[in-house]
C-alpha cells in the first residue's frame, strides 16, 4: 500500500534537468581538464619532438628516434650553453640566497633607521622592466671598464634574484611565532643556539623555496643575460639564436629532462613532507 503511493508520487526528472545537473556537478572537472590541457600542450609538444628524427630543422615530424636522447650533446654548443647556464644559476643562487636571507632577517626582525626605505628599495629590481635593468647594468659595467662575460652575468643575476629571495624569506620570518625563540632562550639556548636550533630550521623551508626560485629565474633569464654576457652562450641564448635556423632536437631533450627533474623534485618533496607529518 505505502509502496504503491511512493511509486506513484515520485516524479520523473526531465532529461534537460538531468543534463543540467550533470554539468553542474562536473563543471569544475571539465574546467580543470581544459586548463591543464592548455598548460601542458607546449610541454607535451616539446617532449614529443625530442624524439623527432629531425635532421636540421625540428619543425616537422619526420619519424621516431631515440638518437637525440642517447646523445643529448650532439648538437654543436648545446651542452656548453647548458653548462654555462647551470654554473651561472648555481653561483647566482648561492650568493643571492645568502645575501637575501640576511637582508630578510634584518628587515623582518630589527628596527633601524631607514628600514621602510630599504624595504621599498628591495622591491625596485622586481618592478624595473628587465630590459631597462639589463641595459643599465651593461652601461655600468662599461663605465667601470668591465667587459661583458661570465662574471658580469653572475653579478647581474644576483641583482635581480636578491629581491625575490628577500620577499620569500621575509614572508616566512613574518609567520614565525617570536614566542618560540623566547621559549628557546628560556630553555638555556643562547642567541646563537637559538638561531641555529630554532629560528633557522623553522625558516629553512622558506630559504629552500627562495633558492629554487632564484635558480629557475637565473636559468630562465634571457634579456638581462643578453646584455651582459658578451660572447658567452647560455641555454636561453642558444635557443634564441638557433630558433632562427631551427632548434635542434637536443634542445627539446634537455628541456624535457629539466621538466621531469623539476617534477621529480616536487614529488619527492611532497612525499618527504607527508612522511614527516606522520
Amino acid at each position: 500500500m505505502s509502496q504503491k503511493i511512493k511509486d506513484a508520487t515520485i516524479p520523473t526528472i526531465p532529461l534537460g534537468a538531468r543534463i543540467q545537473r550533470w554539468v553542474g556537478r562536473n563543471l569544475i572537472k571539465i574546467y580543470a581538464f581544459i586548463a591543464f590541457t592548455y598548460l601542458f600542450i607546449p610541454v607535451a609538444y616539446t617532449f614529443a619532438f625530442s624524439f623527432n628524427d629531425s635532421g636540421k630543422s625540428n619543425l616537422i615530424w619526420k619519424g621516431f628516434t631515440l638518437d637525440n636522447w642517447k646523445n643529448p650533446c650532439g648538437a654543436p654548443e648545446v651542452c656548453n650553453a647548458l653548462g654555462n647556464s647551470i654554473k651561472i644559476g648555481l653561483l647566482a643562487t648561492i650568493f643571492s640566497t645568502i645575501l637575501g636571507t640576511m637582508i630578510a632577517f634584518a628587515i623582518g626582525r630589527h628596527k633601524f633607521k631607514g628600514r621602510s626605505t630599504s624595504n621599498l628599495l628591495i622591491f625596485l629590481p622586481m618592478a624595473t622592466p628587465e630590459i631597462v635593468l639589463g641595459a643599465s647594468l651593461l652601461s655600468l659595467f662599461l663605465v667601470f671598464k668591465i667587459n661583458p662575460g661570465f662574471w658580469p652575468t653572475v653579478i647581474a643575476h644576483i641583482v635581480f634574484c636578491i629581491s625575490f629571495v628577500v620577499v620569500t624569506v621575509k614572508a616566512r620570518i613574518a609567520s614565525l611565532d617570536p614566542r618560540l625563540e623566547q621559549a628557546a632562550m628560556d630553555l638555556y639556548a643562547n642567541e646563537f643556539q637559538t638561531f641555529r636550533r630554532v629560528t633557522l630550521p623553522l625558516v629553512a623551508p622558506g630559504i629552500a623555496g627562495a633558492a629554487l626560485l632564484a635558480f629557475s629565474l637565473s636559468f630562465d633569464d634571457f634579456i638581462i643575460t643578453n646584455f651582459n654576457s658578451g660572447t658567452l652562450t647560455t641555454f636561453p641564448k642558444f635557443i634564441y639564436v638557433s630558433a632562427a635556423r631551427g632548434i635542434p632536437a637536443q634542445a627539446n631533450v634537455i628541456g624535457s629532462a629539466m621538466f621531469f627533474l623539476a617534477l621529480a623534485i616536487v614529488i619527492v618533496g611532497q612525499l618527504v613532507n607527508r612522511r614527516r607529518v606522520r
Binding site: 611565532d177 614566542r179 618560540l180 623566547q182 621559549a183 628557546a184 632562550m185 628560556d186 630553555l187 638555556y188 639556548a189 643562547n190 643556539q193 636550533r197 630554532v198 630550521p201 623553522l202 614527516r276 607529518v277
Partner: protein, 382 residues
C-alpha cells in the same frame, strides 16, 4: 657570573620593580617575596601588569627600575638562558619541527646534561604521556600539548617555574582536571611555582599564596582563605567572589569590636578585620554568610531588619535571594537548600542576620564597585 646565576636557589625577591612603555606604566614600584617551594599566584584582570611581571622574572623583558633577586643572586639584567627559571607559555610554544622527546630534551641538551633519555622518559611518565615521545607537537591535543609544555619546563629542575595562563586555552572540564594535576605535580617535584592567571577560581584552587594585582600594583596578598574572608579593599572583595558592601559610620567601641551604624541599625565588626582609616566605612559580608529569617523568628548576632525579598533564584544546591533593604540597596543572599526547598518567596518581609566575626570593614572613601565590572574571562595579551 653565568655559572653563579644559573645555580642560584632560594626565595625570589622583587624590589621596587617598575616597567614603563612610553607613558604607560605596566608595573608600578612592585615589591614582593615569593618563598622557595611555594605555589604562588599573581591574579588580576587584563592589563594589570601580571604578565609583564612574569616576563621580567623570566628575563624576557628588562625592568625600567628595581631589582630581581633569586636567593642572594641579583638576576635583574642576566639573560633568560642564564637564569635557573623556566616558563610554561600561554600558547605552550612547543617547537613544531622537533619531536616531543626532543622538545623536552631541549633544555637538558643545551646545558650538556648526561642521561637525557632517562630524564625525559621519567618526566613523560610523570605527565602520563610516555607513548607520545616520537610524535610532533601538531599531532597532540590541547591538553596533551599543555602537559608536554609543563614537562619541558620541569625536566630542567628550575629554581622557579613560571606559568603564564597555562590553562587558558583548555575547556572547562579539562581545566579543572589540570588544576588538580598541576597542584599534585608541584607537591611531587617540590619546585617554586609562580602562576599568572585572571581566573580567581583557578588561583584559589591551586595557590598557597595569591597576590591580587591591579594597575601594576599589588592590591593584597595572602592565602586564598585570607583574601576571601578578610579582603582589605573593595577591589579584592569584588574580584574574588561577590560581596555585599554597606555604607556605614563607626560609632563606638565594644572590647575587640567596633560598633558600626548602618543606616540607623547597629552591628558589630571585629577590630582585626576593620581596614577603615577614619569613621566612615563599608561593612562587607559575603552572600553565603547571611541568614534570612521571618520577622517573628528570634535571631542572634548582627541583624538588619526591614528587608523585603525582591527576587528568588533556585539553583539546586542553593537559592539566591535579592533582598531590598529600607535604604534602597539590594543585598545578595545565598542560602543552602538543606531542606530541599527554598523557604522564602518574593514579597516576604524578612530580617537578615550573620555572625559578627564574618564582617569585614573597608575604607569609607573607596569605590564600592571597584573590581566588579572588570571582565575576568577576557584573555589578556599584555
Amino acid at each position: 657570573m653565568v655559572k653563579a646565576s644559573i645555580e642560584a636557589r632560594g626565595d625570589l625577591r622583587l624590589t621596587r620593580l617598575t616597567k614603563t612603555y612610553g607613558d604607560f606604566t605596566a608595573v608600578d614600584d612592585l615589591s614582593l617575596t615569593i618563598p622557595k617551594g611555594s605555589f604562588f599566584a599573581l591574579l588580576g584582570p587584563s592589563g594589570c601588569g601580571k604578565t609583564t611581571t612574569l616576563r621580567m622574572i623570566a628575563g624576557l623583558e628588562e625592568p625600567t627600575a628595581g631589582s630581581i633577586h633569586l636567593g642572594e643572586t641579583d638576576i635583574t639584567t642576566t639573560k633568560p638562558y642564564q637564569r635557573p627559571i623556566n616558563t610554561v607559555f600561554q600558547n605552550y610554544a612547543l617547537f613544531p619541527h622537533l619531536t616531543i622527546f626532543e622538545n623536552i630534551a631541549f633544555g637538558l641538551r643545551r646545558r650538556g646534561k648526561s642521561d637525557v633519555k632517562e630524564a625525559v622518559e621519567k618526566v613523560l611518565n610523570l605527565v602520563e604521556l610516555p607513548h607520545l615521545a616520537q610524535r610532533k607537537p601538531t599531532q597532540l591535543s590541547g591538553g596533551q600539548q599543555q602537559r608536554i609544555a609543563l614537562a619541558r619546563a620541569i625536566v630542567n629542575r628550575p629554581a622557579l617555574l613560571l606559568l603564564d595562563e597555562p590553562l587558558g586555552a583548555l575547556d572547562l572540564k579539562l581545566r579543572r582536571q589540570m588544576q588538580i594535576e598541576l597542584k599534585w605535580i608541584q607537591k611531587e617535584v617540590g619546585l617554586t611555582f609562580v602562576h599568572v592567571t585572571h581566573d580567581q577560581e583557578e588561583a584559589m584552587t591551586m595557590a598557597d599564596t595569591i597576590a591580587v594585582m591591579n594597575e601594576g600594583q599589588i592590591e593584597q596578598m595572602g592565602s586564598p582563605a585570607d583574601l576571601y574572608d578578610n579582603p582589605e579593599t573593595a577591589y579584592v572583595a569584588n574580584f574574588l567572589g561577590q560581596s555585599n558592601l554597606i555604607k556605614g559610620t563607626i560609632s563606638g567601641n565594644d572590647g575587640d569590636s567596633q560598633i558600626v551604624d548602618l543606616y540607623g541599625q547597629k552591628i558589630s565588626l571585629p577590630k582585626s578585620r576593620s581596614h577603615a582609616v577614619d569613621n566612615s566605612t563599608y561593612a562587607g559580608i559575603r552572600p553565603e554568610k547571611f541568614r534570612i529569617s521571618l520577622l517573628e523568628t528570634p535571631v542572634k548576632g548582627n541583624v538588619l531588619s526591614g528587608g523585603k525579598i525582591e527576587d528568588v533564584s533556585y539553583i539546586g544546591v542553593s537559592t539566591q535571594y535579592q533582598v531590598e533593604m529600607p535604604w534602597g540597596q539590594e543585598l545578595m543572599v545565598f542560602e543552602q537548600n538543606d531542606d530541599g526547598v527554598a523557604p522564602f518567596k518574593k514579597g516576604d518581609a524578612v530580617n537578615i542576620s550573620w555572625e559578627p566575626t564574618f564582617t569585614f570593614g573597608l575604607r569609607g572613601d573607596e569605590d564600592a564597585t571597584a573590581g566588579s565590572e572588570v571582565a575576568p574571562e577576557v584573555l589578556d595579551e599584555e
